[in-house]
Amino acid sequence: MRSVVGATLLALALALSAPRVPGVAAHDVSSTRAKQNQPKSPVSLTVATGYGGHYRASAWVPIRVTLRNQSSAALSGSVTVPDQGSKTQFAAQDSFSIYQMPVALPAEATKQVTIYLQGRDLGDVVRVQFAVAGKTVAAASDSPTSFDAQTISLGALATAPELVSWLRRTKIQNTSLSTTLLSPDSLDPVAEALANFDAILLTNFDTSRLDREQITALERYVRAGGSLILVGGPDWQETLRPLPSSLVPGNLRGSQGLGALSGLQSLAGTRPPPQTTIVSVLDHPRGFVAASQGGLPLVVRQRLGQGRIMYLAFDPAVDAFPRWGGTVTLLSDLIMQAAPQVVGRVTSSGQGGFYTNRFGPSTMRPVVANVPASATWPSLFLLIALAVLSILIVGPVNFLLLRRLHKQELAWVAIPALGLLCLTASVATASHLKGNMVLLNTVGMVELDGSSAIRPATLYVGMLAPMRGDYRAVWDGPALPQSLPQYIADVGSAPSTSSLALRFREGSQTTLDFPSMNMWSTRTAALRTSVTIPGTVRSKLHLASDGSIVGTVHNGTSLMLARPIVMAGRAIVRLSDMPPKSTRRVRIRPHASLPGQVQPALWDQIYGATSPDPGFGSWDGDPWEEPPLGTEASLSDRLRNAAERLPEARDIASRGEILFLGWSQSPLGTFTVDDAAPQRRDLNLIVSPLSVRFPRGPFRLLPGTIGANVVDARPRQPQSSCCFDSVTPPAVAVGPGGSATFQFDLPEAHRIHFRELALSAGGSSGSVTAVGQAYDWRAGRWVVIDLQAGNALLPRPDRFISAAGALQVRLRSTTELGDLVIADPHQDLQLSGWATSS
């Protein structure tokens, strides 16, 4: 006995004193040994991330992997890139995803594949592996850096670098310019990847070398908020003629020589040298003509979707410009005007809440993980009744029965037997009720902008697994996939934890592998893709004499649109559900936020107040205080939950447009799960901008009818930071000495005569403290307007409206007045007045 005790003690001591080798360290050791014994890899692998090693965190980033098979045998394997998780201050993702791309490498062949990852998921180091039959045969890494907020990133499609050397002459305070020379090979046919650039410049470039996908990507890039700068000049034909008409703001018809570009004096401040310059000729310019000479447009800006196109009739690379003193001012202003989204980012950098925009699409996770209660949730009453019943049966009833039978000792058989019986019954009941249900919960937003039936869409997908195991969902189309991780406390420098949530495969079909799913658990992902929706929502709207917007809206799509609304400023009108091809009458009286007035969150205003309180709308982004998903007792609750968390819908009230919003519960696109059609639950927000005509005769223009856009800014560092608890940074925040210029675009301005026109500045954020100026187009100078009271009447208003319908307002910050902060130009700046249309 003593020997047994002694031996066991020894064994125990040995066990507890076993060396403490961490798992990763052990793995590393074995890897090192394996490397030592490995023969030379048959494949060489190089990786290049982003554009010149840079990327924009908010964009999708191309990871170009070049593989060279150095062996004489063909190899088939897959390139793998793990995401590193959006690690932010205090928080990291609870899981990671892997992006895979199958590659067949013939003997001694070289191939390049491109995988796209969301910029926020890249991490500090991008690690790429090529594996054959599960064994890694080549690996490489890259360390890209993201552009900071002050960097203006420019992609240039030009034949030679010297053709864009003029960009070096731009000087924009508080910013730096990063230019990447692009070629047909490096221009990604993916609009979301082009979003790495604040603007894309086309100059002296044979655009016919771009394929159809690249041109489509360029247009989608602009419609999604990008900027395109088109340079005409002597080589305009090569550069601009192959472009589709939607990307050119007018009709190009030739070129001509101008003695001096005096038309640019209004932009540059000084007169250009008297040197003949060849300019391209644009007829019937669309948009705003910022500079012209002798009726010939020199600079034209056109809005397209959420972005804009800037056309320059001249080539800044030609000889006249380097010698001109006004070039720096001119080119710097043009760059700022070409990319208005830069204005907001540069001037508002460091502004906004502590948790500003930190979690992006992950806020959709609870929405798509939310499946109908009836699908998974057992009855609370039933569960409590069963619990009480089982306690009674196993306890008192069992004992009393056995005592009556004088067989108390049988309790040791009866209790385990009853326990196992209940367990088996529960498992069997649960399996019978839910064992075969694969549910795909999809929430997304589609914008019906443009004429094509193929619409860009973002779909958020949650898959409910009926049984434990691996699942494969396939989206029948190309898409950019992304996981929607949960955030956990960040405890160190490691970027992610060990849990693999998803494996993605990009291509003509997009595969989403969900490994090791638990029974009745949901896992979520987002797809940036396109869906086909023929038709659009058309409107025949005009302003009534009292300023109301009246007319009809027609559902020209094949979708049943539920709970449709029309939105003008902060005014909304609810319409009845719209079946396909149906028409509804609309009457809406636009209004905007009054200065200092606290507005309810937009979606609360539309679908009723949220529950619980405070809801998502007042959340400051702190991951530990994220409000739970509001209870969904009705369709309105579900719509509000989806809308307020949809990242794409977050700025919808700031568009400054008259918008139609409706919900479709029809599936968009095709999903299969393990080669079978899953049960689907879809909810998609359909958004369509509506146009409004001015009527003939006198009419009133109400605030909220026409919104303003930032078109230019002179950034200066604000004196103080603001809005600690704000999730969204202000659109513009400029310190003393800086300014921001806003523009109202009035349709059909040539036939409108304003009798009275007032500008109000303040909106919900209170009064704006700045020196106000309006541009007098007839005198060609800025006129000071008094905005101290929050609004100003513009005397003789017609002079402030250009022939193209532009009304420009400049707000300047001074030392006395302090920082200029505009939270939302569409709400904070409003036009109202009386006019007559001929």
């Binding site: 076993a18 949730w377 196993v394 306890g395 108390q408 956990i488 406390a489 934890t497």
Partner: protein, 315 residues
């Protein structure tokens, strides 16, 4: 006990020697325990406490809109299992600690010692009887636990692993309590000492494990809330975690996302000094079994030798 002495004949004695612990002592123990109202009360109170936990949990998570059914299922299993473990930490020592000291107090111990039962037979029989009663409680709670399947996120395998840890914890606590019972003469003393040891093994060891891990991480006590989500490369838990029932349970419980509550920390690399990777709860089960066998042997040895302080004649 009396049955054994009365059984005549050599073959009968031999048969009795084999069956005796199960057939006689265990049956006597079980019959005595099952006939008392005490057992009914223990089972009912035990299930009542667990049932209350279940009901409170269900009411707390009564919002069907939260859409996290599978996570709720995992959380329910976690809650019930951890509560069960806490109950076990008190119930098992209470039910086992009087096994030998009780006989001493009732002055039946010497009678038992003069039978043909070996000291190992006595220990084994006492242990088996005590274990059976505790296992009743574990199996009796299965109907309550089975509600987790209606939420999802939990498979039968998760419940099996959880129960393995609980059963081995009961075994470990039972043998410790038995050893204490062997070493003391008064049931009250042995119950108190056993409960103290049980609490030390459960909560005390867990605190030690967490303290050592927090020291390694250099992140202080915040590590407590983040054990399951530590990144790869995190230093492993101290080897003491392998004999900690709470840590073992955490390593067996599902987290609702396909992993366990302890995540990567729930693995033991080079377990027992061998090139072998196992789960922490698996290592706990093996170690508990080994320690239990050792303590059973030690208890038998002590019974045979008799602790000197118990052999002293009363003054």
């Amino acid at each position: 006990m009396g049955d054994v002495e009365l059984m005549p004949g050599t073959s009968a004695i031999r048969r009795t020697r084999v069956l005796l612990p199960l057939d006689a002592v265990v049956r006597k123990e079980l019959r005595t325990r099952m006939r008392s109202r005490h057992s009914l009360a223990i089972v009912t109170v035990y299930l009542g406490v667990l049932g209350s936990v279940l009901v409170v949990f269900l009411i707390e998570h009564s919002d069907p809109g939260s859409g996290r059914s599978s996570q709720v299922g995992s959380q329910l299993l976690q809650t019930l299992a951890i509560f069960q473990l806490c109950l076990i930490l008190f119930v098992t020592p209470s039910s086992m600690a009087g096994a030998v000291s009780g006989e001493r107090q009732q002055r039946t111990w010497e009678l038992l010692r003069v039978t043909r039962l070996t000291s190992f037979d006595i220990v084994w029989a006492k242990l088996l009887a005590g274990l059976t009663v505790n296992l009743f409680l574990l199996f009796g709670s299965l109907p309550l636990l089975s509600s987790v399947f209606l939420f999802g996120g939990v498979g039968p395998r998760d419940v099996l692993y959880t129960y393995l840890v609980l059963v081995l914890t009961v075994l470990l606590l039972a043998v410790i309590s038995l050893l204490v019972s062997v070493l003391t003469s008064k049931p009250a003393t042995s119950i108190i000492v056993s409960i103290v040891l049980s609490v030390l093994l459960g909560f005390g060891l867990s605190l030690l494990v967490l303290f050592l891990e927090a020291e390694q991480q250099g992140t202080g006590i915040t590590i407590l809330t983040q054990l399951g989500s530590l990144p790869p490369g995190t230093p492993p838990l101290t080897p003491w975690a392998q004999v900690d029932p709470i840590v073992a349970l955490l390593s067996a419980l599902p987290n609702g996302k396909g992993g366990t509550l302890l995540g990567g920390l729930g693995k033991v690399h080079h377990a027992f000094g061998l090139p072998w990777t196992t789960s922490l709860w698996g290592a706990f089960c093996l170690l508990s079994l080994a320690i239990s066998l050792l303590l059973v042997a030690l208890s038998s040895l002590l019974i045979r030798l008799g602790p000197p302080w118990l052999n002293r004649p009363a003054a």
